[in-house]
Amino acid sequence: MLDKLLIVLIDGINYSSWLFLAAVGLTLIYGVMKIVNVAHGSFYALGAYVAASVVGVWTANDFPPMLSYLALLIAAIVAGFTVGPIIERVLLRYQYEKDEIVILLMTYAVFLVMEDLLKLVWGVDPYFIIEPFAYLGNFEFAGMTYPNYYLLMAGLAVLVGTSLMLFLKKTHFGRLLVSVIHDREVSAAMGINVGKIFVLTFGAGCALAAIAGAFTAPTISVVPGIGVEVIVLSFAVVITGGLGSLPGVALAAIIMGLVRSFCVHFIPQFELFVIFSVMALVLAFRPRGLFSLAEARKI
């Protein structure tokens, strides 16, 4: 029994790391820009496809495998930071004066277009890039063998989380960002270039989604439609944590990761919807999520 709980714990931590990586970009974009980015999952898929190409080139040329992880990271950031800002500049920035719902629908349209563009560029056949996963080998813990890739994912999640936190708290640009999060108009009046911050934030959020996709790609088969489920899972994590809250995403990811892992091992029928049940339950008692900022009522 204890052994089994240990397995649940380790699987849960792995799934939590994944959920955190997948969702953190969404909360960043919402926090700063108040946009619910439905295209988030497409950026995840973009990252996964870019990773498939990079790993393909990497193994074909016998580049050192240890460096392939760095290549994945850089490729994902480049992909997210190119496509994201283009969409923001070409489409979204004209919608900021309009309703929250209009922008949400715009990103939904972007999602539909990107889903098919990915198919046009990479085709509909699956890609398998097991190399970065297999290269790391396994570790043994309490009589069970786990892939070392689990450690990489957990490490990456912690790295992304802490660097975002430090960035927001300690750097000049991060503090500008925090002020925009609190009040866009007053920040603009104080001389902050909100337009520039929006482009960079959108790019960063998309890059984070692409990173999640790139590092998940070695563990799955990369096929059309992998982003579709990621969107709703990220929504669930972000809204449970409290839209725009970084510690909220972390806590929600941990709770949901552990609960799901528990269900997978003990009550597998519940696996598919347990995350949404947790979300509905949390919202029933804390209507704005676990860590939500108090909002002034505007009459």
């Binding site: 889903e115 929504f235 809204i239 029928q269 598919l272 919807f273 949404f276």
Partner: protein
């Protein structure tokens, strides 16, 4: 009870389509039936949008309606379409009534995503229930209309006719609601909920009411889709289904009860053409049309009608 102009014209259009049905090819009859089913769900989404709300989970009630019809037909041999539609509407309404106690408290993004969560819960439940065919779903037996089992070449027309009856009843009801004080409250809630409440109206009760109405019409829509397609599966409750329905809502606009059906018709045509010519890029066509509509016709296709009327006057 007197019918206003909109309903009279809609009734005329539906009767004309039905009269012409022997000359309409089978695939087009099928498409029109699906259009009717979608339009009924969008009728509910239109009510939400009038109150400034958008639901990313309306597929929940659509799917619940379809599964009610499917299960009654399969397990209880109840194939009478009139009863199936009523039962499905009742099921949708009941679920909406119960969930409404929670969902009606939320606004904005939270309303949309909480609805999404519930529809994904239903999806997860159905996809894991082997007795109901898991992700494959199951076939729905052929339905009868007033005890009459239509010949195979008449089935489509018969189901379409039933759909039209339901559409007429639903639109008349929603139209009367929108013209009455409750309907006018929706716009007030969208503009400023706090002021509306100071006037003594309850936003929560109003939203709960339209949530139930939308649940009933979506249940009807699901029953019609299930009878027309003859097969149901859990993706009916997946969030992408809700996404398409939202697209139709924006496409049609919220100016009139007929707008959802015009939106659904145009969506059906775009979808059919795009899907047959380029099966791998139909989503892109839908996405680009959505961007186009939002930039050029932010109030949907119905706003064209109003523009023309202004020009004449």
């Amino acid at each position: 009870m007197s019918f206003d102009k909109t309903i009279r014209r809609l009734a005329l259009a539906l009767i004309l389509i039905l009269a012409a049905s022997p000359f309409i090819p089978q695939w087009a009859l099928f498409m029109l039936t699906i259009v009717g089913g979608n339009g009924l769900v969008v009728l509910g989404l239109m009510l939400f949008l009038r109150a400034g709300l958008i639901s990313f989970g309306q597929a929940l009630f659509y799917c619940a309606g379809a599964y009610t019809t499917g299960l009654l037909a399969l397990k209880f041999n109840l194939t009478e379409m009139t009863l199936l539609i009523v039962a499905s509407g009742f099921a949708g309404g009941l679920i909406a009534y119960l969930l409404g106690f929670l969902v009606a408290r939320y606004r904005g993004i939270f309303f949309g995503l909480l609805s999404l969560a519930f529809s994904m819960i239903l999806y997860g439940l159905l996809a894991k229930t082997e007795a109901l065919g898991s992700t494959d779903g199951f076939n729905v037996p052929a339905v009868t209309v007033f005890g009459w089992l239509p010949e195979s070449d008449m089935t489509r027309s018969a189901v379409l006719g039933m759909a039209f009856v339901v559409i007429l009843i639903s639109t008349s009801f929603v139209n009367a609601l929108l013209k009455g004080p409750r309907g006018l409250l929706l716009t007030a809630i969208r503009d400023n909920e706090i002021r509306t409440e100071y006037m003594g109206a309850s936003a929560k009760r109003t939203i709960h009411l339209i949530y139930v109405i939308a649940g009933v019409t979506s249940g009807f829509g699901g029953a019609i889709a299930a009878s027309a397609v003859g097969h149901i599966d859990p993706t009916m409750s997946f969030w992408t289904t809700s996404g398409e329905l939202i697209f139709i809502t924006i496409l049609g606009g919220i100016g009139n009860v007929v707008a959802p059906f015009i939106g659904a018709l145009v969506f059906g045509i775009i979808h059919t053409i795009a899907f047959s010519y380029s099966p791998n890029t139909w989503q892109m066509v839908i996405g680009l049309s959505l961007i186009f509509v939002m930039l050029v016709l932010p109030n949907g296709l119905w706003s064209l009608h109003e523009k023309f009327r202004k020009v004449k006057a």
